[in-house]
Every structure is written in C-alpha cells, then in structure tokens.
C-alpha cells in the first residue's frame, strides 16, 4: 500500500474519520514548518531581527509548547503542571523571557521537541473518536469551544508562527 498523499484531507488508518482529517491538517502544517527551518544553524535559530523579535528557535519551542498545553487541556482536562511550567514556560511566554532562556541549541534540539510532543498527540488522538472531538467546554470570552476547534487552533497557531519564521528566515542572509 502506498502512503496517502499529504494533500488529501481524508480518513487515516488508526483514527476515526474526523480525527483522521484533523491529523492530516496537523501533519501538513508541521511539514511546512519543518521545511521552513530546514538546515538552519544555531546562530540563525538564535538570531533576533530586532529588540522585540522572537528568534526562530523560540518560535519552534513555542509551537511545541502550545501543543503540550492543548494536550493537557483536551486530553487531561487541566492546565500545565509545575513541571510543564518549568519546561515550557519560556517557550509559551515568548518575548524577553524566551530571548534570555531559549538560545544556543542546534536545530536537532527543536526537532526533537516537536517530534516528541507530536508522538504523544498522535497516540492520544488515536485513542479518541469523533464524538470526543465534539465535546465542548467554556473557552475564550466564555464561548463554548469543542476539542475539534482547540486542535484546529493548535495548527492555526503553528501556521501563524511559520509565516513569521519564513519572513525572518528570508532576512537572515542580510543580517
């Protein structure tokens, strides 16, 4: 059996129908993130375009951190643990804290974070079903959000930052 095209939003083995479609979108977003940062050196991952910029490395850590936060929220029904805060706090905060704390790592460090977190996501999504995607809790501004939206938001936040990473990467050569 050949692998399905990454450009077909549809069912995927091991996932229920809606969950499979969501997984295709999550994986496509990740594919484009990985292509955006391929080959970057540590100095490029740390580079700050201006005094208020996030580095590409910090944005990659943020992408992984957001995914962890939504794992906790949707799979466990709780916020970050103190251990999560210690590991992901700077990545989630971005800004000055990330500029200080997230530096000096090679690309593999960030790729390992992303793949470790994604493996957890896929394993947990495989245990859930379309009915779970529909479950709602109060969310932004007290409006209801379902798990489907929350995981769409995870990939949507990744794409938002990937757009910024592309912009920043184009300007690295001139830095």
């Amino acid at each position: 059996m050949t692998a399905p095209s990454p450009f077909v939003v549809g069912e995927r083995p091991g996932f229920t129908p809606q969950v499979g479609r969501l997984v295709v979108m999550l994986e496509y977003a990740r594919r484009t993130t990985l292509r955006t940062v391929a080959g970057l050196a540590p100095a490029e991952l740390d580079h700050l375009h201006d005094a208020e910029s996030n580095s590409i490395g910090a944005l990659l850590a943020h992408v992984a951190g957001i995914e962890v936060a939504y794992q906790r929220s949707t799979f466990d029904g709780r916020g970050l643990t103190p251990a999560d805060e210690a590991r992901w706090g700077a990545a989630l905060a971005l800004g000055s804290r990330a500029r200080t704390e997230i530096r000096g790592e090679p690309l593999e460090h960030y790729l390992d974070l992303l793949s470790e977190v994604r493996a957890d996501t896929l394993r947990e999504l495989a245990r859930r079903d379309d009915a779970w995607l529909e479950e709602t809790t109060p969310f932004w501004g007290g409006e209801l959000a379902n798990n489907h939206f929350k995981w769409f938001h995870v990939l949507e936040d990744e794409i938002n930052h990937r757009g910024q990473m592309r912009w920043l990467r184009k300007r690295l050569a001139r830095a």
Copy 2:
C-alpha cells in the same frame, strides 16, 4: 436560535457536514485576519517595513486573490481568466509588482475585496457536498490533492500571512 460559537468546529446550516466544518475554519481564519488589521490607516496599510517587505494592504489583497484562484480551480476547473489576471495579478505576485500597484487605498477597499470574494466562496460551497470535497486532481509535485485540502490550503495561506501582518503591525508604531 442563537448563533453557533465561532469556536465550535461542526455542522452549519446550509452546508453538508464536512463542508460546514471547513466553513467554520475559513470563517475563524478570516475573523482573526480582520482583527489583525482593524483600524489601520491608508499609510499604515501601505507601509513597507524594508525594501523587500510586502505591505499589510498587499497581503490583504493577496489573501483575497488566493481565494479567487482556488474558486477558479475548484469550482470551475480552470486557471485565472485574463480579467482575473488583470484584477488579481499584482496581489497574487506580491513583491515588487505589489509594492508598485497596491497602494493608496483605505482599509474599506481591502475589506470589500475580502467580503465580495468570500460571499462567492460561501455561495458556491453551499451548492456542493462532502463527496465533492473528496474529489482529487494532480497537484503539487504530481501528488493528488482533494478539494478539501485545496480549501484548507486557502485558509492556511491566510493564517501564514496573518502571522506576518501581526508582526508588521506591532512595528508600525516605531516606523
């Protein structure tokens, strides 16, 4: 009946089940784009952060232009007409052509473009169904893509550029 929460990915009246979920994602992406640019003056929409930047106005026109291109591709099975090229060519190209041709317009101009194009999209999507979303054609690199993916890509491209608009807007005050 109250309006459904914008944070619930689910069925929507007037659309088949999968199309409805896609429409929720398209509309959420648009909502965040509109919030990103709310209140910008013409000079801010035209501002170029550096010599290679796209203006926020050009990025807004690009978002509308991409949506037109995928209307033609998925609804009509063809590319842009000469009239489309005349209207949307600079927006689709971005870069130097957009820096020259897309200028001097108020925010309402861009909002009108976006809402005109979106109305066409929603009207056409309402006429189609989940089976249509699954239809495939050869796409990037000869891999198959279905209509569901192509419309996901439309919103994904919008979110990518919204990330850039947010970055650019934060720096307008210092320009």
